[in-house]
């Protein structure tokens, strides 16, 4: 089945640093790279059904057939020329890191377009295997690919897989490893003679004049220079800027002979080449219609689309609230009975008792108050992500997003923010312009994450009712929209706008959603919970030694403005570490689970609104600092703090009129 033509024997200048074989997975966005990766590496790379679900690469040691390999799952990219930071990461990796073999993953139903990336990858002169993924979906669409013919065309092995079900994966990796050791590269596929002539001449010119070795083939370098790719041009500029003039004259020549810009000539050429290969290997049948094809006529409809969007979000909200409250009540009473039973046997004044009680309260708070809401919420979010609904939301909201100075793509990080702000800020990398990324980062950090959701539900929902909790979400949406609108007014700049693939719906497997939910809950259990217990102990110790008073005094200006009890002060500091801590520490600080006995309805509302809006947590600040500049991180910090203070004060005024 496999016939590899080995043409080029020159060795790759990038020698592997590691003794393990480096296997790189690369492909266009949403072709199933991460699903394939998880299939061999265990669930480590978070997958979802939208383009741009992976914005950084995941590297993993994997044992296959009793040997250890390094498998690297790169973010999706359409081309070796990148237009956004996520794709740039893939481009840089491919061009600079040691790689033994490339697995080019392809969504089979999009083969003609995907071959354009394949052709560029083959120019890297690295052994490669083609993985035609999601063949089941392609066959349903009536597309049949002759793998043998395709393999002959490209000179590399071609495999069909359905990564989500593990079909064909073993065979794919067995061959991948074989190819890596054989060091065979594919055919050199060349296009139209008059274009190749110019590429060849530029390539020879570079061979003579360039004294600096590059880690990739000169054919690739010449092609990319003719394509006006900024990355390659910068590489030349760095070592031999005097060559740029000559390179430009090659571009001019190509453009003159073809009547359009040189990058268009190269792109058209590559497109034509891909099409001609595709037509030789593909056959078409009548597609089978499926519910997936009809769903969009409702969910993306100009009227019904919005009705369903609101309905879906509302049902989601109600379900999380109901399920959470249903589980919370019995758990709470269990833990307070337990705590009371233990305490009744101890000397209440002893330091040991104080510590034991705080540990018990820390554990109880995590299980009884946080987990009941966290689980249904993260489960639901994972489901919406995996079924492929998010790109539809982006489509529906694009028009609205333009009014606040962003575009539809920014909806994706914003929605992810409801789960956790950290991946949300990272997801802004799917946006091209730094300005859009900054505004989207601001939006992502202001969206109430799952941790803040537990506060909204656990405090406001529990004491003031579901409708008030729902109101906080609405208020947050309005404030976030106004903030984005305000900031984009300060940074007027027109940006390219949305370009997003709307993937086919995919009924997710329960196992995958559960694993993903578990991965996110594990975050809470291994990071937040210990912190919670430690925080709980620290608080009771500092109480015991009268240190809390000092802390509270320091924060008293804030609590004074908000009209909150002074004891609340320390909880606001804990909230910066992890947002849930604000609420759980509140119980500790007040010395009771029944908050209503110490705080009024109005104070509970003020506290929650302040906590929802004030500064992002430490982890979010960390990624924010990496993502946007330090100055911008400070700006976001100052802005959210001031905003929270103003909103808290306003809530206090309004609450004093109601209660």
């Amino acid at each position: 089945m496999i016939r590899s033509h080995s043409h080029d024997k020159h060795h790759h200048p990038r020698q592997p640093h590691s003794r393990h074989l480096q296997i790189v997975l690369i492909g266009q966005p949403n072709c199933g790279k991460s699903t394939l990766f998880n299939n061999v590496a265990g669930y480590r790379s978070v997958t979802a059904n939208f383009p741009g679900a992976s914005v950084t690469f995941t590297k993993s040691h994997v044992r296959i057939f009793n040997r250890v390999y390094n498998i690297i799952d790169l973010p999706g990219t359409y081309s070796l020329t990148s237009t956004d930071p996520a794709a740039r990461e893939a481009q840089r990796y491919l061009l600079t890191q040691p790689i033994d073999v490339i697995v080019n993953v392809i969504d089979t139903s999009l083969l003609s377009r995907s071959l354009e990336l394949t052709l560029q990858l083959m120019d890297l002169n690295i052994p490669m295997v083609l993985c035609l993924n999601m063949v089941d979906e392609a066959e349903r669409k009536g597309i049949e690919i002759n793998t043998e013919a395709l393999s002959n065309q490209l000179g590399i092995p071609v495999f069909k897989t359905v990564a989500s079900h593990g079909i064909g994966v073993k065979e794919l990796f067995r061959e991948t490893i074989k190819i890596a050791y054989s060091k065979k590269v594919g055919r050199h596929i060349r296009g139209n003679r008059d274009v190749e002539l110019v590429i060849g001449r530029l390539s020879r010119f570079l061979k003579q004049s360039l004294h600096h070795p590059f880690a990739y083939s000169r054919h690739l370098l010449a092609t990319k220079l003719l394509e006006n790719d900024g990355f390659f041009e910068t590489q030349i500029r760095k070592v031999q800027p005097e060559l740029i003039g000559e390179i430009k004259s090659f571009r001019k020549e190509l453009s003159r002979t073809h009547g359009r810009s040189s990058d268009e000539v190269i792109n058209t050429e590559r497109h034509a080449l891909s099409m001609s290969i595709f037509e030789k290997v593909a056959t078409f049948k009548k597609p089978k219609l499926h519910w997936k094809d009809r769903l969009d006529s409702v969910l993306m409809h100009n009227v019904w689309g919005y009705v369903f969007l609101l309905a879906i979000l509302f049902i989601f909200f109600v379900l999380v609230f109901k399920i959470g409250a249903y589980i919370e009540k019995p758990l709470l009473s269990f833990f307070s009975t337990l705590s009371a039973a233990v305490m009744s046997r101890m000397n209440p004044a002893a330091l040991f008792t104080v510590i034991l009680k705080s540990i018990l309260d820390g554990i109880g708070g995590g299980i009884a108050i946080v987990l009941p809401y966290l689980f249904p919420f993260l489960f639901g979010l994972s489901f919406l992500e995996d079924i492929g609904y998010l790109p539809r939301v982006a489509f529906l909201m694009d028009g609205f997003m333009h009014r606040i100075g962003l575009h539809g793509t920014a909806v994706i990080p914003a929605v992810l923010g409801y789960g956790c702000n950290v991946p949300a800020v990272m997801a802004t990398r799917i946006l091209e312009s730094p300005r859009d990324r900054f505004i989207a980062s601001l939006v992502s950090t202001m969206v109430p994450c799952a941790a803040r959701m537990t506060i909204i539900f656990g405090l406001v929902g529990y004491y003031l009712g579901g409708m008030v909790a729902f109101f906080i979400y609405l208020l947050n949406l309005v404030i976030v929209a106004l903030s984005a609108g305000f900031v984009s007014k300060l940074m007027p700049e027109s940006t390219p706008g949305m370009m997003m693939e709307i993937p086919v719906y995919h009924l997710p497997q329960l196992k995958v959603i559960l694993t993903k939910t578990w991965l996110r809950i594990k975050e809470f259990i291994i990071i937040a919970w210990p912190l919670l217990i430690i925080g709980s102990v620290v608080l009771s110790l500092s109480d015991y030694f009268h240190f809390t008073r000092l802390l509270n005094l320091m924060i008293s200006p804030v609590t004074w403005i908000l009209g909150l009890p002074v004891q609340v002060g320390t909880t606001l500091i804990f909230g910066i570490l992890r947002k849930e801590l604000s609420m759980l520490m509140l119980f500790q600080a007040l010395g009771t689970r029944n908050v209503l006995s110490v705080m009024s309805h109005g104070q509970i509302l003020v506290f929650t609104i302040f906590v929802v809006f004030y500064v992002p947590c430490v982890a979010t600040l960390g990624v924010l600092y990496k993502q946007v500049r330090g100055k911008d991180t400070w700006a976001i910090l100052l802005y959210t703090f001031t905003l929270a203070l103003i909103l808290g004060l306003l809530t206090r005024l309004v609450a004093s009129l109601i209660w």
Partner: protein, 78 residues
């Protein structure tokens, strides 16, 4: 040439042929990458309200294109 129009002016369910992509290097690259080149046939599936995006089908893929971007694509009805 006659009956040339911008992609954002095409009505829903109309198939068109791409004549030209206006605009700079960045927009050309992005449209090419997603599979839209001069000469390609694309189907306009949906046009969102409030100046929202246009949903087109290009060689089996559904792609949402922002209104601003579609104004740069000159097409001809077929």
């Amino acid at each position: 040439m006659e009956n040339q129009l911008r992609l954002d002016q095409v009505r829903e369910n109309q198939e068109v042929k791409v004549i030209e992509i206006l605009g700079g290097w960045g927009i050309r690259q992005r449209l090419n990458q997603i599979g839209i080149h001069p000469g390609d046939k694309i189907l306009v599936k949906r046009s969102a309200i409030m100046g929202g995006p246009i949903l087109v089908r290009v060689r089996g893929a559904d792609v949402a294109l922002g209104r601003g971007m579609t104004k740069k694509v000159i097409v001809q009805e077929i």
